[in-house]
């Protein structure tokens, strides 16, 4: 294997135009699975959420879940799609042990929703992402690979299958190819998934958590020289966070550009994204093209959504997130750029709820986009999963506003909250972090500092007020940072008659 030096992103994109496309799978939050009455709740003991149907036992038959059909239609409507007046499920045939029947009930050439779009904002511009189709299928079970070094399939000696997840309704949303985004392609991809997530969350049909796998993304990327036809695309799987969506496109653009610049050819293939390294690697190559032998699912009769029903679902759609954001942006008084960063961080609802819990918009934004965003980024998780709730953030701000915490202490309190030690007040008390505001104790500390540093004290007395900093530092040290620096300073100057 030869090692080549990869170009920078700017170098890579300079000579090419990218075309991207995204396939997103969303697990619906229905009570029961797609084709049987087993519950969908997360985290049960292995093989305890299964029945003859989702285990694919001989003789069992599927019956479609009405709530899942409805949720899919609502997603389609929210994405401005046309809803099929008649369509069928199809069997996608291939052998894999996480699929109990060795076929997946999906939709093939007759998806429930087609031809829509979603507008996203990138760099202050609106990009319209075409939606090819939205269809419904069933999820697979979970396979645990044993015996390999990393728990991966490669090198494993055996695998263990749990079918609890098998049959959970899965909505697949496929975009049309998106050309013309230029160097912004990675940001557009991320903005699309972010916006899609907002839309679906707003509908209340899924918790759309990427790290729990209820929202999963495959990213298609190709490059072409300006004026040329679109290039061969690769499909990158295993893209499991918003940040990774952006990184996966960026990485693939850099990789493809290097191949093409080197006179090579892009192979149409599936690649796997690594969250750790941020690069993509080819899946095992397939010796023959996959032939899924799709045919209409004979065990399920066609769907023919009544137009009146579809219309009633349309009328009941929530306010589109984009409209809502505009409204919110105005009421919070944010610039476009500030609002964009709030959206990109996935913080709109969090801030909204924090405001609802009593904080000012500015304070809420400061916490969510500052300390909490930093922590989420470090942990590689979504902001919503960082471990603090909007109510807790509002409570924290109240503690700051009332002077019980200073900024520095508040950050320490957050650490405790995120670690699950309790509410901000509980953490503050348990860790003994409250600002030392009792003047008696503070005065004693100040006097101690003055006594211990007679030279500095003399300078301050002589009017060199700036020298008081050293005394403040000494007081903060003895109070372990739990004093308000401003108060300490005032107290020192007062004691030394320099105020």
């Amino acid at each position: 294997m030869t090692t080549t030096t990869l170009p920078t992103y700017d170098e890579a994109i300079a000579g090419f135009e990218p075309v991207i496309g995204l396939e997103t799978h969303v697990e619906l939050g229905t009570n029961t699975k797609m084709f049987c009455g087993c519950p969908t709740d997360f985290g049960g003991e292995p093989n305890t959420r299964v029945c003859p149907v989702c285990l694919g036992l001989p003789g069992s038959l599927p019956v479609a879940n009405k709530a899942a059909i409805e949720a899919t239609i609502r997603i389609g409507l929210a994405l401005n799609c046309s809803i099929a007046t008649w369509c069928r499920f199809a069997r996608k045939n291939y052998f894999y042990p996480d699929m109990p029947k060795n076929f997946q009930i999906s939709q093939y050439d007759e998806p429930l929703c087609v031809d829509g779009y979603l507008d996203v904002e990138v760099d202050g511009k609106t990009v319209r992402i075409g939606i090819e189709r939205v269809h419904l299928e069933e999820d697979t079970g979970k396979t645990l690979h044993v015996g390999g070094a990393t728990g991966r399939i490669h090198g494993a000696t055996e695998s263990l299958v749990d079918y609890n997840r098998a049959g959970i309704p899965l909505v697949e949303i496929v975009t049309k190819p998106v050309p013309g985004t230029g160097a912004l392609a990675p940001e557009v991809a991320r903005a699309y998934v972010t916006e899609l997530r907002e839309v679906i969350r707003g509908l209340g049909v899924s918790d759309v958590r990427m790290e729990e796998g209820s929202l999963r993304c495959d990213v298609n990327t190709s490059l072409n020289r300006p004026g040329d036809e679109w290039g061969t695309r690769t499909e990158t799987k295993n893209v499991n966070s918003l940040r990774s969506v952006e990184r996966a496109v960026r990485t693939e653009i850099i990789r493809q550009s290097a191949v093409l610049e080197g006179g090579g050819r892009i192979v149409q293939e599936t690649r796997h994204f690594s969250e750790e390294t941020g690069d993509t690697r080819p899946g095992r190559s397939k010796e023959t093209a996959t032939d899924y032998r799709y045919f209409p699912e004979p065990d399920l009769v066609p769907l023919a959504p009544d137009p009146a029903w579809v219309e009633s679902l349309r009328l009941a759609l929530p306010e589109p997130p984009r409209d809502r954001r505009k409204r919110i942006q105005e009421s919070w008084g944010l610039s476009d750029l500030d609002m964009q960063s709030v959206v990109n961080a996935g913080a709109v609802e969090l801030i909204e709820e924090t405001v609802a819990a009593g904080a000012t918009a500015a304070a809420a934004r400061k916490w969510w986009l500052g300390e909490l965003a930093r922590r989420a980024n470090e942990a590689g998780i979504d902001l919503a999963s960082v471990g603090a709730t909007p109510a807790q953030v509002a409570e924290l701000q109240t503690l700051v506003d009332s002077g019980k915490l200073n900024d520095k202490l508040a950050r320490v309190v957050i650490e405790g909250v995120v670690a699950g030690e309790g509410s901000p007040t509980e953490v503050m008390e348990a860790r003994g972090l409250a600002v030392v505001s009792d003047t008696g104790a503070l005065t004693a500390a100040v006097d101690e500092a003055i006594a211990a540093n007679p030279d500095v004290a003399a300078k301050v007395r002589d009017g060199k007020v700036a020298a008081a900093g050293a005394l403040v530092g000494a007081v903060m040290k003895t109070t372990k940072g739990q004093a308000d620096a401003k108060t300490v300073r005032e107290l020192i100057l007062e004691r030394l008659g320099a105020s």
């Binding site: 001989p58 069992s60 019956v63 042990p97 109990p100 029947k101 032998r293 065990d299 399920l300």
Partner: protein
């Protein structure tokens, strides 16, 4: 007590209701008969004697308590081994399911239990219901009680032979291309395929999902109707189940038994009235037509030009669906696993398992179906077969504008000797030439004995419009009243 086994189901139900015999006595009589003759017939793959006695005792207890009993309470029934029975081995005639005990009952079996019938055991069949002779059962063929050297029909040869041999008064079959009717014809019994969607497929191990239909097997038309009413009706677990009332088949059978068919119009399918059938079969068929005419029926010829394409269409649609339905037999969640030596990969183990677990006919059909569904071939094969299916349905609809029911011989030939059609699979497929159109259309069809040819039974098929199952029962019962039932030679000695 041995004459209990000679009674019809209707008679047995009356006997039990009156208290002339207990359900347990009736059950034991049949278990004894099985013990005596099944060594020769091999109709059963599994006899559930304990389960049967327990079920019979429950009926007797209910009767003693004065509870109301259903019309077939206490009557024994044999169930084709393609329907799941909770805790009782279910193999579909395949090695791949040897020893499997399903954790659930099929809907049909659940209804049989609820009705107080007594399930004697599971009957032999061609593997996964693919075949017309039971020669493709992994557990050896069933022998025709009329001539133990001949086939009992298939795939449900075990169910038909069990009732022909008086091992059970009733049996359940499933019919995908004729698997109830053709065995009925060659064993001199009544076999009825209800309207597709009229009986639940939940728990029926699927061969071809869009065609499979459970139905009753019996020695008389009335018995078949009684069993039909117990097993049929809407089931929410089967999305293709029709949410309508069961057609009044028992009432229709009783009406037919009066022997009056005045005003009933029978259509003889031109395309099925000559070519392909043995002369003796055609002769018996025409004698039956004459008998029906005497009862007041009007016989006209109707053309169904696309019926000639039914067999080819069927042998594309059924294998295609089966190639997908049988993919789940992979040695992961249930059933046989072969070759897992710690070195082989899953794909190798799966392939060895399926190679060892499936018989030749099943493999042929899986590969045929895989081929017909492949991209590049789909339109010419599977897609075209589904269009032919539409045309056949249109033929039926046009025919039923003119006549009340269509009639034909059930199968072109009487029971053939073992081994005579296994070397050329397509020769075996011809056994279902006349029964297949009905499956593609989805309507009901019944086979009722109409006489003998060369000393072997001939079946008369009556086909009706969808959800008009009652019509065919009326005509079948009338024919039975005219020609009588058939009694096979004794199996004793």
């Amino acid at each position: 007590m041995s004459d209990l086994t000679r009674m019809t189901a209707a008679e047995l139900a009356g006997t039990i209701a009156k208290g002339d015999a207990s359900a347990e006595e009736v059950t034991r009589a049949h278990l004894d008969r099985i013990a005596a003759v099944d060594g020769k017939v091999h109709a059963f793959l599994h006899v559930d004697a304990d389960g049967a006695i327990n079920a019979a005792r429950k009926v007797d207890a209910k009767r003693a308590a004065g509870d109301e009993l259903g019309p077939l309470a206490g009557v024994p029934v044999a169930v084709k081994d393609v329907l799941t029975t909770r805790g009782v081995p279910t193999t579909a005639g395949s090695k791949i399911l040897e020893g499997w005990r399903p954790p659930y009952d099929s809907t049909v079996v659940e209804r049989l239990r609820d009705a107080g019938t007594v399930i004697l055991g599971k009957t032999n069949m061609d593997e996964f219901a693919m075949g017309s002779s039971t020669e493709y059962s992994a557990y050896g063929p069933t022998n025709n009680p009329w001539d133990l050297g001949r086939i009992p029909g298939g795939s449900g040869g075990g169910s038909a032979a069990a009732i022909a041999a008086y091992e059970a008064p009733l049996a359940i079959g499933t019919d995908t291309g004729g698997s109830i009717r053709q065995p009925g014809a060659v064993t001199g019994t009544v076999g009825s395929k209800p309207t597709y969607g009229g009986t639940s497929r939940y728990g029926l191990i699927a061969f071809s999902s869009s065609l499979d239909t459970p139905g009753p097997c019996a020695r008389t038309v009335l018995d078949a109707a009684l069993l039909h009413e117990v097993m049929a009706g809407h089931d929410w677990r089967d999305s293709t189940s029709i949410p309508q009332a069961v057609p009044p088949v028992v009432e229709a059978a009783r009406l037919g038994m009066t022997g009056d068919l005045t005003g009933v119009k029978l259509g003889v399918v031109t395309e099925f009235n000559g070519e392909g059938a043995e002369p003796g079969v055609l002769a018996a068929f025409h004698d039956a037509l004459a008998a029906l005419t005497k009862l007041g029926a009007e016989v006209v010829e109707v053309s169904a030009p696309h019926f000639q394409y039914a067999l080819p269409a069927y042998y594309l649609i059924a294998p295609s669906e089966c190639s997908s339905n049988l993919a789940r037999f992979d040695g992961v969640r249930f059933g046989l696993r072969v070759g897992d030596d710690g070195n082989r990969s899953l794909e190798e183990v799966m392939s060895l398992t399926r190679e060892a677990g499936f018989g030749p006919e099943v493999k042929r059909r899986i590969m045929l179906g895989t081929y017909a569904l492949s991209s590049g071939y789909y339109d010419a094969y599977y897609g075209q077969a589904q269009k032919v299916r539409t045309l056949i349905t249109q033929d039926f609809n046009a025919a039923f504008e003119q006549v009340d029911v269509l009639v034909s011989p059930t199968t072109p030939f009487v029971a053939f000797p073992f081994g005579s059609r296994t070397s050329d699979p397509y020769q075996m497929y011809l056994a279902d030439l006349f029964t297949i159109p009905t499956n593609l259309y989805g309507g009901p069809g019944i086979s009722v004995p109409c006489g003998l040819s060369e000393g072997l039974p001939v079946g008369f098929q009556i086909m009706a419009p969808t959800m008009a199952d009652d019509r065919m029962y009326r005509v079948a019962a009338a024919l039975e009243s005219a020609v009588g039932t058939l009694t096979p030679p004794s199996l004793e000695g």
